[in-house]
Symmetry: C2
Subunit: 437 residues, 2 copies
């Protein structure tokens, strides 16, 4: 699409592992996960029932880079390299001297960046003889990605979908079914955990926490079955670095380097994907003036208003304790349309970077986010996913600031997905039905 297309030899052949850079140049690493029972650091054996050994190793790796398996690279050609586009019409509409670039992950068949890690996770599981994966999904972006990835590697896929979304958002459910996945509204009567939830809260419309419990229980109790997570963990951040690595090479072809890199931030894989390769350059002293901004909703402001402490990854307390910025694992955010940003915590790596003031954070109300997304769509055509629209909002803020300061500024943000399955939110916004939090 653009002049910055990457030839086959210019495409990343490895994932970039940020912990290497933290260890080498900062001499520090995030505090390790703890067992919820002993409060002691967990070993690989704690994760082995859920994840294949290759992913467990990636979770704690201090290698500089990890090769992308050939089979995964081959599947990435379905949609990668994704385009790096310059939002010239938006620049003109804002009358800004800033150059606004975005990496467009919506060209993936499932419409978002989630497929980058889904394919890698399915591959490593398949290689270890696993036959089925379970997972949870809210709005369904992650569930769709894992469903397709499982299909590509001949694995069964069982998705526990938050009941409210299952009923209200039938279309991503249809996508998962089309790829051959089994989709169960959660809580369900197919697991002990689900039956307990139903007994205690018969009218519940479910939550991610409940769905995680069901998915983990099924993975642990069924033979040849593992669990897969779409964000938060180190290996997920790792796989998403393909986004930023491509973007860096594409920016180079444009003769530019970003002054600021922006990603929306729920669990953190979106931000990590675009920003970690640039942060690695900054940590190693190869660039000086780079800023990175994580953008979150005011409805779930874990970085900007949360506390940096150990907390559980799920509501029921089944996961290891993770050191992260958190609203508390019992926090229930209001039902904003950016379902992917409604996580109570943040990736330990992203949290560590924020704690060390290596990245910044900003939070916006969804009304302002939809307003920004509309301006973007009217100028660039692409309708952003509500999650990605948070990055759009902050990119516009940075561009307006550049104008006020009369400075040229190069902005890069991650347009992590399109909003074609989220149009209900846009309709409500245009009809004036959304309220400020």
């Amino acid at each position: 699409m653009n002049k910055n297309m990457l030839g086959s030899r210019e495409r990343p052949s490895t994932y970039l592992n940020l912990p290497y850079y933290l260890h080498t140049y900062l001499g520090q690493l995030p505090d390790p996960p703890l067992s919820p029972k002993t409060n002691q650091p967990i070993g690989p054996e704690a994760l082995a029932p859920l994840f294949p050994m290759e992913l467990v190793k990636q979770e704690v790796s201090l290698e500089k880079e990890i090769p992308i398996p050939d089979e995964v690279r081959q599947l990435y050609t379905m949609f990668r390299p994704s385009p790096l586009l310059r939002a010239k019409r938006l620049e003109k509409a804002l009358d800004t001297p800033a150059h606004i670039y975005f990496k467009y992950e919506g060209v993936s068949p499932v419409g978002s960046h989630k497929l980058n890690t889904a394919l890698a996770q399915a591959y490593y599981n398949k290689k270890e003889g696993i036959r089925a994966l379970t997972t949870e999904t809210g709005a369904g972006q992650w569930g769709s990605a894992l469903a397709l990835a499982c299909r590509m590697f001949g694995l069964s896929c069982h998705v526990f979908m938050v009941k409210g979304s299952y009923e209200q958002k039938p279309y991503r459910r249809t996508v998962m079914k089309l790829y051959g996945a089994t989709v169960t509204p959660s809580p369900s009567d197919t697991t002990h955990a689900g039956r307990a939830f139903l007994k205690h809260f018969p009218d519940t419309r479910g939550s991610l926490g409940m769905a995680i419990s069901e998915a983990i229980e099924m993975a642990v109790t069924k033979p040849h079955t593992h669990y897969a997570l779409g964000s938060v963990l180190n290996h997920v951040m790792l796989h998403q670095t393909i986004i930023g690595q491509e973007a860096m090479r594409q920016m180079e072809k444009e003769g530019e380097y970003p002054d600021v890199v922006i990603g929306c931030c729920g669990g953190g894989s979106n931000l990590a994907g675009i920003a970690f390769p640039f942060l690695a350059q900054k940590l190693s002293g190869r660039v000086k003036h780079l800023r990175v901004v994580a953008v979150e909703p005011t409805a779930c402001p874990s970085l900007t208003r949360g506390v940096y402490r150990y907390d559980s990854g799920d509501t029921a307390g089944m996961t290891p304790l993770l050191k992260m910025y958190t609203m508390g694992s019992d926090f229930i955010p209001s039902s904003i349309h950016a379902g992917g940003l409604r996580y109570h915590g943040d990736s330990p790596l992203v949290s560590f970077l924020y704690h060390k003031k290596r990245i910044e954070a900003a939070a916006y109300d969804q009304l302002d986010v939809f307003a920004a997304a509309k301006v973007f769509a009217q100028n660039e055509g692409i309708i952003p996913a509500p999650e990605s629209a948070h990055a759009v909002k902050h990119a516009i803020v940075e561009a307006i600031r550049a104008k006020e300061e009369g400075k040229k500024k190069v902005i890069l943000f991650n347009m992590s997905g399109h909003g074609l399955l989220d149009l209900e939110g846009y309709e409500q916004y245009m009809e004036g039905k959304l309220k400020r939090e």
Copy 2:
């Protein structure tokens, strides 16, 4: 995405005009449009109230090629060149010696090829001082494309959307509104025609024919306002040839040339877009063995079961009479999910080619079409629009035939759009709710 990416100098700079090739190498042209009042060939003045003079000229041009305006080429970079992908996993699943390539137009921000002509039409209208465009839309693919194109050129856009679709398919309506278009369910009380329809058929859920009448009436009666059509006419076929021109250059980079080129066929712009550049080579004797197949639904089989005669382009008889394969302008096809293929006639150019046996046609029931689309999605990830799924179905038929005959065969089809706003049809298919016609 693939090795066949086109550099900026390799991208088409002109539209390919098939009538030149028909005139030069066949010495024949389709019969001209006639006035519905006099039954005599119409002159440019009959089209001038609806279309800008540049498009009227293109409608009757015998030039070999027509330059793509710079402003339009610039906007094409939003999504063009679109990818040419090889469906290797589908080939493997079918165990066929055939090579199956598809041109993927779903990367357009509106999700289909319709934007190719919408941008050109909006440009020529803007250049001639027009301030607003009207059009009709069924499911909304064309309306979305024109809405975005109008936005890009600062034109107002008024879309009359068939009332049944307006109520049942709210999401494409949301897309049009987001781009700033006014969307009116048709028939409406905003036009004489609409009021007459409502008086005579108070319970009607509308039809494309009624919506066309309303759009034309508004264009003719409002100052600085024109009408735009998304298929059928020569200038629309012309603009879509950018698809086939790109595909030809991309196939060349793969070292291949198609034995058969396939497109679904409603009004004809989808088929024309992918096939006309290849047909031009065949007409001029540069290739010998190329076949072209138009694929239509059995629910609206204008080529395979219609009659080649003059007929009206709309139900109310307001348009010029066009020589085409037609089911009759009062034919109402059943409400299949491929709304874009529910047109009673066919492009005069496509009809002429079929009459002269220069192209073939095939028709399939939507049950078989959805079955093929599911196989495609499970292997290639992309969920085809129900319209494009007709081309998928025939590509699979050709691939299976190649296997039976033990022949290598190179298949190219137009994946003209994704089906992410048509998932209701897939859901009904998977739930067994669709019946054979």
